[in-house]
Each structure stands twice: as C-alpha cells, then as structure tokens.
C-alpha cells in the first residue's frame, strides 16, 4: 500500500509540471495581456510594467523563473491585477473560504445523499422511493446558477431569514445558502448511485443468507449491505470534490463569498497570469490528492483490489 502511495505521488510531479507548462503557454498565447487597458497605455509605461514583472523575458525563461520561485521560495509571484497582493496572499485569503463551504457541502451531500439513497432502496417501489428518485433527479438537473439567485430571492428578500451574501468564519448564517446551492446536485447524484448499488447489494446472496439467519433488518443493512454498497459512491467522490471547487465560481459570484472559484475565472479573463497559474496548480494538486485518497479508501473497503 505504501509503495502504491509513493508511486502515485511520484507520478504527481510530472503531472503538475505538465499542467503548469501547458497552462502557461496557453495563457501567454491568448490575445491581450494583463496591462491591456481601455485607455491604451503609453508604450513606455507598458515597458516599465513588463520589466517590473519580467514579462519581456523569453517564455521558457519565464517558466523557469516561475518554477524556481515556487520550488525554492514557495512564492507564486505577484498578482498583476491586484498589485497590492501576492498570489500567495490571494490564495491564503480565498482558499480557506472555498475549502470551508466546499467541505461542508461535500459532507452534507454525502450524508443526505447516502441516506436518501438507502431509504429509497429499502422501501423500493414504494412512494418513499418515488419521492426520493423524483427529488434526486430534479435536484440533479437544476443548474446552480438558477438555484443561487432563487435562494437569495426567497430566503433573503421574501422571508428575511439569511443574509444575502458575504462571508464570516464565525457566523454560520453566511454558510447556509452557499452550501445548499453547491451541495444539492451532488447530493442528488450520490442518492441515485447509492440507491442503485444498495438495491444490487440487497439482492445479493450474502444478504439473503444473513436474512435467512434471522438477523434483524437494520443490522443486515448497517453491518452487511452498507459497506459494499458504498464502493461506487466512493469512486464518485474524487471527481465530485474537484467539480465542487470548480463550480464554486457560481457561489462566489452570487453570494459574495470571496473564494478562489471567482478568482480563477477572473484571472483567466483579466490575464492575471500568476493568479491563474496559482489556482490551477492548487486545484491540480487537490485533484491528485483526492484521487489518491479515494483509491486508498476504495482499497480499504474492498480488500479484493490490489495495486
């Protein structure tokens, strides 16, 4: 197992390197630069700016400097668009926010999704099942850019229950709407997957045996059915976490949370090279980490799998 983890981590390095070089080149090929402004700047000012940020070096040298600073100083450079801040500061400010509502959404999606799926499977083909399936499909296809403004309209304007946006690490009332908007569709997919895999497990021989032995139904489900039924859910979790981080742009836009999702889209549109690279690397590293965790979990639940 340890060898497996080490091997995966070894692959991570070239992966990130590839990602960095690819995004770097792509970004620099895009038309316009960080200092393209409505009032065309005098060439001298542009020259000053480019010299300041080292943008007049050849591309390979820029990539080299960039990598060198990351590896040696853990410095992702200054932001071009937010001159008061470095990329490290921007990520340090935005990432904890994204991570907080991301993890909360992740956990609620799993807990609610699995419960809904299990309940639907147990009472298969009853009205409980139909409602659960209905909810989960409906929730799965409702885009969160519809859900988010709807939540603000209903919960903030009509019922005055929650603040319409903003962020605080100490006040959970700011967390609720982001979590609902982000978690719902994933909750729904998890419910669907859980339901179908639970149905499969419940129909399998070892469950029949357990029932035949006269074991109470709740014990059958908790001790024998749940664990194997979780396998497909787990393989689904890695991608879920990553798309939650990507999808957080909608959350940041509608709820003024100040996370890194919006920062990424903005940096791509503003040609803020350094921020864009920083966030891409961060999300790339997270993706690798999460895929690894999922694989480890998978192996732990299903000992048949050997790496």
């Amino acid at each position: 197992m340890i060898a497996f983890i080490l091997r995966r981590l070894a692959v991570a390095v070239p992966t990130l390197l590839l990602l960095i070089v690819f995004s770097f080149i792509l970004m620099h090929m895009a038309p316009g630069g960080p200092f393209t402004a409505e009032r065309a700047l005098p060439p001298q000012v542009i020259a000053n700016l480019e010299a300041q940020y080292g943008l007049n070096d050849p591309l390979w040298l820029q990539i080299w400097h960039y990598l060198y600073n990351i590896v040696v100083h853990f410095d992702f450079g200054p932001s071009f668009v937010y001159p008061d801040r470095s990329v490290n500061q921007l990520i340090a400010a935005g990432f904890p926010v994204t991570l907080t509502y991301g993890i909360l959404s992740f956990v609620s999606a799993i807990v609610l999704g699995v419960s809904l799926g299990v309940v639907a499977a147990i009472w298969h083909n009853s009205w409980v099942d139909y409602i659960a399936v209905g909810i989960s499909i409906g929730a799965q296809v409702l885009p969160n850019f519809v859900m988010a403004p709807l939540l603000v309209l209903v919960l903030t304007l009509w019922y005055r229950l929650l603040p319409g946006g903003g962020w605080s690490f100490s006040d959970p009332s700011f967390w609720i709407m982001p979590v609902i908007a982000l978690a719902t569709s994933y909750m729904a997919s998890i419910a669907r997957i859980t339901r179908s895999s639970m149905l499969e497990v419940l129909g399998s021989n070892h469950i029949r045996t357990a029932r035949a032995k006269g074991m109470p139904e709740y014990r059958v489900i908790i001790r024998h059915a749940l664990k194997p039924a979780m396998l497909p859910v787990i393989s689904y979790l890695g991608p879920v976490f990553v798309s939650m981080i990507t999808g957080s742009v909608v959350i940041d836009m509608y709820f003024s949370t100040g996370g890194i999702g919006k920062a990424f889209v903005d940096s791509a549109l503003n040609r803020d090279y350094a921020v864009m690279m920083g966030v891409t690397i961060l999300v790339g590293a997270l993706t690798i980490l999460f895929n690894l965790i999922v694989d480890v979990l998978y192996a732990w639940i299903d000992p048949k799998i050997r790496y």
């Binding site: 792509l26 895999s197 129909g203």
Partner: protein
Amino acid sequence: MVIDEQKMKSLSTKLVQDEVRGRSPWADARKRFIRNKGAMLGLIILVLVSIFAIIGGYFAVWSNEELDFSVMGQVAQMGQPSFANGHYFGTDNLGRDLFARVVQGTQISLMVGVVGAGIAVIVGTLYGATAGYVGGRTDQIMMRTVDILMSIPYMFVLILLLVMFGRSMSMLFLGIGLISWLDMSRIVRGQTLSLKNREFIEAARATGVPAWKIIIRHIVPNLLGVVAVYATLLVPLMILTESFISFLGLGVQEPLTSWGALISEGAGTMNYGTLWQLAFPLFFFVITLFGFFFVGDGLRDALDPKER
C-alpha cells in the same frame, strides 16, 4: 455529475461473457428495455424534444432574431406568452420571440450534447481499444498518460481554451468532447483485454490482418453495448457543461442561443415579472436531461439485468 463507473464495469463484463457464450445480448435487451416504463417514457420525451427542435421552427410566427417593436420596452406587460401575437412562449427582454429562440436553443444544446458525447466516445473507444489490443509497454504508457490527464482540472482548461481561441462552436464541441473521453478509454481498454484472446481475433491475427483493421473490424463492434450506454449518459453531462460555459458568457454567439444562455438570461430577470423567460427553456432543459438519464439507465439495465 459523473457516470457510475462501477456499473459500467459490471456491464462490460457481462457483455463479454455473453459474447463468450455466443449469444447476442441485444435481442433480450430490447424486450427488457420496452418493458421498462421509465426508459420508454424517457425515449418518448427525447423523441418529442427532437421533433420540437426539428420542426418547431415551422410553427414560429417570428424568427429567432426579429425584434417585436410593439413589445420592446414593456416586456413585462406585453411580452407574455400569447397566441394572439404569435409569441407562444412570450418574448425575451428585447422583444424577441422566445418560442423561436427555445427551438433554436434546443437545436444547439442537443447538438453540443450529441457531438460532444460523440467525440468523447470515438476518441475514448479508439484510444482504449488500441491500448488494450497492443498491450505491453504501449498500453502501460497510454494508460499512465490517462492517469496523468485525469488529474487535470478540466473545467479550467476548457475556460482557458475558450478564452484563448475565442468563442466558437467548433471549439465548444472539441473542448467539451475532450473533457470526457478518459473514463471511456479505461472501460474500453478493460473490455478489449478480455476480448483480445478470443478465437476469432486470434484467427484474424494469424491470417495477417493488420492490427488497426482488427481493432476497427473486430474489437470496436463488440464494444457497442458499452459505448451506447456510455454515450447516452454522457449527452446530459455535455449539455450541463455547455450550460455552465454559457453562464460564464463563453458560449455561442448572438443571435444564436442555447438552453444554458436562455436559462441564465431568464434566471437574471426572474424577479421582474417575466418568469416565462426562465420557465420555458428550463422546462425543456430539465425534461431532456430526465429523458437521457432514464434512457441511459434503462439501456444499461436492459443489457445487464440483475435480479432485483
């Protein structure tokens, strides 16, 4: 939104076994599919939506870009859905006919979904089949590459691509298609591995048929079941991705539109008394995704029946 990989694996195993037993999985599957009410409902919905997309335009009184000056400027009062002035679905904020726009948006969204899924399936199948068939070092390298590519945050790359090459239909197809061939290639490779040593393949190899011909003539046709199911489930994912891209303002160019663009416009104005602008596109979007999910699930269950 991701496709349940576990089930896809189970399906591919099943199909290979059937193949071994020399029985076509398709005949039984059709019966089972027809008996599945959800799947049939989904199929009917999809057929209806496709008909709507194809011939809806003939019923439109207005084109998708004309401005109705009698409505313009007072859309909330005059732009409601009405048969009298030919705006069956009402108008958008500029006074353009929403019916015509939904018809046209449906065409684009379905096309993006189908073409995107098509690209993903073709690339994934060929890649996976090649890796599995050739095997050895090539297989190792190809599958490691897939592992590496899996760790790339695709939505980011897609945004970068659209920013860099400008917004165009072909870029959208390509970008969306390229996102999702990786899972496909893994599943196909697995199935190819088990097909590879079957007699008819070995026979072909012995008679000197070149590798690429074996892959295309003999391996790929035997993967059809998996491919069909996967493609059906991929289409709604493509449509969802497109809607997100449209929401970011990187989708198709005006006056063309798509469900994503229409929904995001409608969502912006939902509190201004023009709810129909959200309701109609959202309705078509939702039922179509339902349809694809039901058909995809139904197809899979039909090909890989389990005791329930």
